[in-house]
């Protein structure tokens, strides 16, 4: 239960940033996104279906990302999300904000620990 709360707090601030970052280089589908988040955070951060997709749709409605059905031979069609021009700007700004925030936190926590 503790873990869940922790997870929830984390996502609340960072979820958008995580998704935007993951599709910056190339379009990815939903499962791939959730997989990457889980792998790269080594299981610390996880998105479940019931929250991932609503988030994707919200970003899409805002015009930051764009989903498109892609058919590949021998596979079922999948919906791939790519970053829009507007999303790229948002990502850059969120990234800057995140660095500022993390540095500030670091500064605070380092002082405490010292």
């Amino acid at each position: 239960m503790d873990n869940t709360t922790h997870e929830f707090e984390w996502k609340r601030g960072s979820a958008e940033l995580l998704i935007l970052s993951l599709i910056e280089a190339r379009p990815r589908h939903g499962y791939e996104i959730s997989k990457l988040i889980e792998q790269r955070s080594e299981g610390t951060v996880r998105f479940y279906v019931a929250s991932l997709y609503p988030l994707l749709y919200r970003l899409e409605t805002r015009g930051w990302i764009q989903g498109r059905w892609v058919e590949k031979s021998g596979q079922r069609r999948r919906r791939y999300y790519r970053l829009t021009r507007q999303g790229r700007k948002v990502l850059a700004s969120q990234r800057r904000g995140w660095h500022v925030f993390v540095e500030a936190i670091n500064r605070i926590t380092e002082v405490e620990n010292a």
């Binding site: 939903g30 499962y31 019931a50 988030l55």
Partner: protein, 916 residues
């Protein structure tokens, strides 16, 4: 793999998403869960564990829905594409219409072919219906028109229904009836407004004093006729119709109290009738109404008991019905007729007259006078309505075929919708909406076509002699009719494709290549049935066309008993000359002499009634010594007075004896020339020359007439009428001469070229005589105008039907060939000859054709019997007409199916097999 969809859909259900959106989310989430499940199983979990874990990640029942709720609200409204039932069957109809328009735009070729056929079909139906509405259905614009009844005579053996009475009969009814709250009488007339020279004819009426009052028509200005205006030896007054007032006086108030010249006599204008009221005769609106008593001013005796010229109407008392009124009028008949028996007639004729009874007919939509527009055109219009109805059916069948073909192409789309949860009823509604939108668009085009077409038709049937005016407004009934047609057509050509298109299984049709399969086969079977129906309907129309065209051709080539070419007719009226009757004979003599002397005139003559003049007639009771008429029949003949040159001018051949000469004068033995029919009827093989007959009527006198010659039969009122027994008497021996007469000139040149010379010649003798010119050829053409109309229109619509059927047959055969390309390829690969492939395809067409023709033959035998009375010189079941119609139909059908058959013949087996 577990099926996640139900779990997902259950969680999405509270959101009430658009089906397409819901399906999209479900698909995406399903994939996610599939991937997750696969991964868990791969990592060593049992299938059951993996299933539980995966499902857990959906996080309870409502998280998904909660997270999506605010986001997806924008999808809440009804989608354009039909999906689930949205409660009310009619909700979202606007969206259906929008969607229909989009679909129609996507197939411009099909849409434009359909629109064109519909515009023609619906336009023709609206045009004919607006004429039917104007001629037969529209209520008179008067107070409580439903209370009006026409008072005529009951038809009796040997007589047609008579709607006119004499002035003495009218006065009896007016003064003694107790059935109606009011009665009135009128007589449509042609009034000449000119002051000499060429006539300026307008439609007018003699009206009884109560005419406007009983009808409940109000004055637009001044006052209308009153009973006091219509008394014997009245000076006469005039009431104008609103339209006439506007056209001739620009609606000036000052016209009240001024004078109008009618037939050379000045009448004071007392008032204008209310706007929109044009009299009770459909098609001939009056311009000027003068009281009946004023007819005496023009020489008509109001006491003449043999002049049948007035029509009568009555207004039922409130609460009374026509049956009660009829019963009472029947009782009144004997005393009323008994009071005004024509005293000059034979005892037999007087008895016949006494036994007349009154007959009432409803007249809320106006009167039905003999030779009136309604009488002449009611039945032709009904036939035309039937014809254009058939054409529209054929057009609908074509569109149904087109839509069937398109529905095959749309099976994937429909299947997708079904799989997204659309109900079949909802999809049928969508497809029907498309058809009705199509037919509505066709109707809008059609209405323009109709307005133009119906005006053209009215112009077609209007002649110089009888102008037809109809108010062809788009009123309630016409609008309702058109809307009804639109819906009917839309349903008619939409229902089969709609049911057919939605009868697909959601999964099978989604796959490629399925549309060419079994569904396609039954599709083309259905299309073949439709074409067979088209063939049948076309055959009926073509047989009708053949009958009407041949009727017209027969009329144009029939020997009328005179030579219609190069004869100029000069209707002359010297009423304005103000001469006493004895002075008329020398005046006429001078005029005739002057005309004969004109260069270019071969011969000239004068007569009372020229052939094919459908206006007046002069019938006389005939008695022939030794001839006993069947009991109850008063033998009558048609009479005419002529000058000696008449028969040579008309080129009516003399059969035996001699024609009139100058020696047949007022003082010599009274003589008569009869036609063959009269000779055969009354002398039965005896030689009539030198025998005597007696003609009744004051014009001829009491003495028996000696027959001096027999001439060939000549047509009287119209070319399609049978010959009538006719007696000709010389003008010189006539006792009472009218002020109107006709001169006829046989010319050596185009008759019209002589008009200026004739006008000058007549003016040099009497400036105030009014003249009206026409040619005998024109009269002949006008007398068959109804048949001409039927021939032209049935020809046009028959051709249209043929074209539509050819298109339909071509479409179906092309479809069949496309479907069987593979089969044909195999046959050819196995060595089939090209000709056998041709036979294979043509056999399909032949079967359709044979079925259609068989049904069409049955139909036409049954239906053409209804047009028997419009045929001339041909029977409804004329075998050569049937054969010709079938030949034309088969020829066109074979050409239409040969084109696709040839394509089948040229199928390259390699290509056809590779295609598969």
């Amino acid at each position: 793999m577990p099926d996640w969809k139900p779990e997902i859909l259950r969680r999405l259900a509270p959101l009430k998403l658009a089906p397409t959106r819901e399906a999209e989310i479900a698909e995406e989430v399903t994939q996610h869960l599939d991937d997750r499940y696969r991964e868990l199983v791969a990592s060593g979990q049992s299938e059951h564990e993996a299933f539980r874990t995966t499902l857990d990640e959906l996080k309870g029942e409502d998280l998904l829905a909660r997270s999506l709720r605010r986001l997806e609200r924008s999808f809440d409204r009804e989608p354009i594409a039909p999906g689930k039932d949205a409660g009310n069957f009619f909700s979202g109809i606007l969206q259906d219409v929008r969607f229909a328009l989009r679909i129609l735009r996507k197939t411009p070729l099909i849409t434009s072919i359909a629109l064109l056929s519909l515009a023609l079909g619906i336009g023709a139906n609206t045009a004919i219906f607006s004429l039917i509405d104007a001629v037969m259905l529209r209520m008179l614009p008067v107070q409580n028109p439903e209370q009006l009844v026409q008072i005529g005579l009951k038809p009796r053996m040997g007589q047609n229904a008579n709607t006119t009475v004499t002035n003495p009969i009218w006065e009896q009814v007016r003064d003694h009836q107790d059935v109606f709250s009011g009665v009135f009488a009128w007589s449509p007339r042609t009034f000449d407004l000119a002051n000499g020279g060429e006539e300026n004819d307008i439609n007018g009426i003699y009206a009884s004093g109560d005419y406007f009052n009983v009808l409940g028509v109000r004055p637009a200005a001044g006052r209308l006729l009153a009973a006091s205006d219509d008394i014997r030896s009245c000076p006469g007054v005039a009431v104008l119709s609103y339209g006439f007032w506007q056209d001739h006086y620009a609606g000036a108030q000052s016209v009240i109290g001024s004078f109008i010249r009618v037939n050379g006599h000045e009448f004071p204008i007392i008032g204008i009738a209310q706007r929109g009221f044009t009299g009770t005769d459909v098609g001939t609106p009056f311009g000027v109404a003068i009281p009946i008593c004023a007819a005496a001013i023009f020489g008509r005796s109001l006491d003449d008991r043999t002049a049948w010229f007035l029509s009568m109407m009555g207004r039922l008392k409130p609460g009374a019905n026509i049956a009660q009124a009829q019963a009472r009028m029947k009782v009144l008949s004997a005393p009323l007729f008994g009071a005004v028996v024509p005293q000059d007639s034979s005892a037999n004729a007087q008895d016949f007259f006494r036994r007349n009874t009154f007959a009432l007919t409803p007249a809320s939509t106006g009167s039905s006078s003999v030779d009136g527009v309604r009488d002449q055109y009611s039945q032709p219009l009904q036939i035309l309505m039937f014809v254009v109805g058939l054409v529209l059916l054929i057009a609908c069948a074509n569109i149904a075929s087109l839509l069937l073909a398109r529905s095959a192409a749309r099976q994937k789309e429909i299947a997708l919708r079904l799989s997204l949860g659309a109900s079949r009823a909802r999809l049928i509604r969508q497809v029907l909406t498309e058809s009705i939108v199509l037919s509505g668009a066709g109707a809008i085009l059609g209405v323009f076509f109709a307005r133009w077409g119906s005006a053209l038709l009215v112009r077609f049937v209007s002649t110089d002699q009888s102008q037809v005016f109809l108010d062809l407004k788009m009123d309630g009934p016409v609008l309702a009719f058109t809307i009804g047609i639109v819906v009917l057509c839309g349903v008619l050509f939409g229902i089969l494709p709609a049911f057919r298109a939605t009868r697909v299984s959601a999964s099978s049709a989604m796959k490629e290549g399925q549309s060419q399969g079994a569904g396609g086969r039954s599709q083309s079977a259905l299309a073949r049935w439709i074409v067979a129906v088209q063939v049948a309907l076309s055959l009926i129309l073509l047989v009708g066309t053949g009958l009407f065209v041949r009727t017209f051709a027969n009329l144009m080539t029939v020997d009328p008993g005179f030579d219609r070419n190069n004869v100029l007719l000069i209707d002359t009226n010297v009423h304005s000359a103000g001469l006493p009757e004895p002075a008329l004979v020398p005046l006429y003599g001078q005029m005739l002499a002057k005309l004969q002397a004109l260069p270019g005139v071969v011969s000239a003559s004068q007569c009372l009634l020229y052939p094919l003049d459908s206006g007046d007639e002069w019938t006389s009771e005939v008695s022939v010594p030794g001839y006993q008429p069947p009991s109850g029949v008063v033998p009558g003949v048609y009479s005419n007075w002529v000058t000696p040159g008449y028969f040579s001018t008309m080129r009516t051949p003399l059969v035996e004896g001699r024609v009139f000469a100058a020696r047949d004068s007022a003082n010599s033995t009274p003589v008569v020339v009869i036609n063959q029919l009269l000779a055969n009827t009354y002398f039965r093989g005896q030689d009539p020359i030198g025998k005597h007959i007696h003609l009744g009527g004051q014009e001829i006198g009491e003495k028996p007439l000696e027959i001096i010659g027999v001439v060939q039969n000549a047509k009287r009122d119209s070319l399609d009428q049978d010959f009538l027994s006719t007696a000709y008497v010389p003008l010189a021996q006539i006792h009472s001469i009218r002020e109107d007469t006709t001169f006829e000139i046989r010319t050596a040149m185009t008759p019209g070229a002589l008009i200026p010379a004739v006008r000058d010649a007549m003016a040099s003798i009497n400036k105030s005589a009014s003249l009206q010119f026409s040619t005998l050829k024109q009269q002949a053409d006008d007398s068959v105008i109804q048949e001409h109309l039927m021939a032209v229109l049935s020809g046009f619509f028959g051709g249209l039907a043929l074209l539509l059927t050819a298109i339909g047959l071509y479409g179906v055969m092309a479809y069949v060939v496309t479907q069987r390309t593979h089969e044909i390829g195999i046959r050819m690969a196995l060595g089939a000859e090209q000709t056998s492939i041709l036979c294979l395809v043509m056999r399909e067409a032949a079967i359709v054709l044979a079925v259609g023709i068989a049904a069409g033959l049955l139909g036409s035998v049954w239906i053409t019997r209804m047009v028997r009375q419009f045929l001339f010189g041909i029977t409804p079941n004329d075998s050569s007409t049937l054969a010709l119609a079938i030949t034309v139909l088969v020829a066109v059908a074979l050409v239409a199916s040969y084109v696709p058959a040839r394509r089948a013949m040229r199928v390259d087996p390699m290509v056809a097999l590779k295609y598969e």
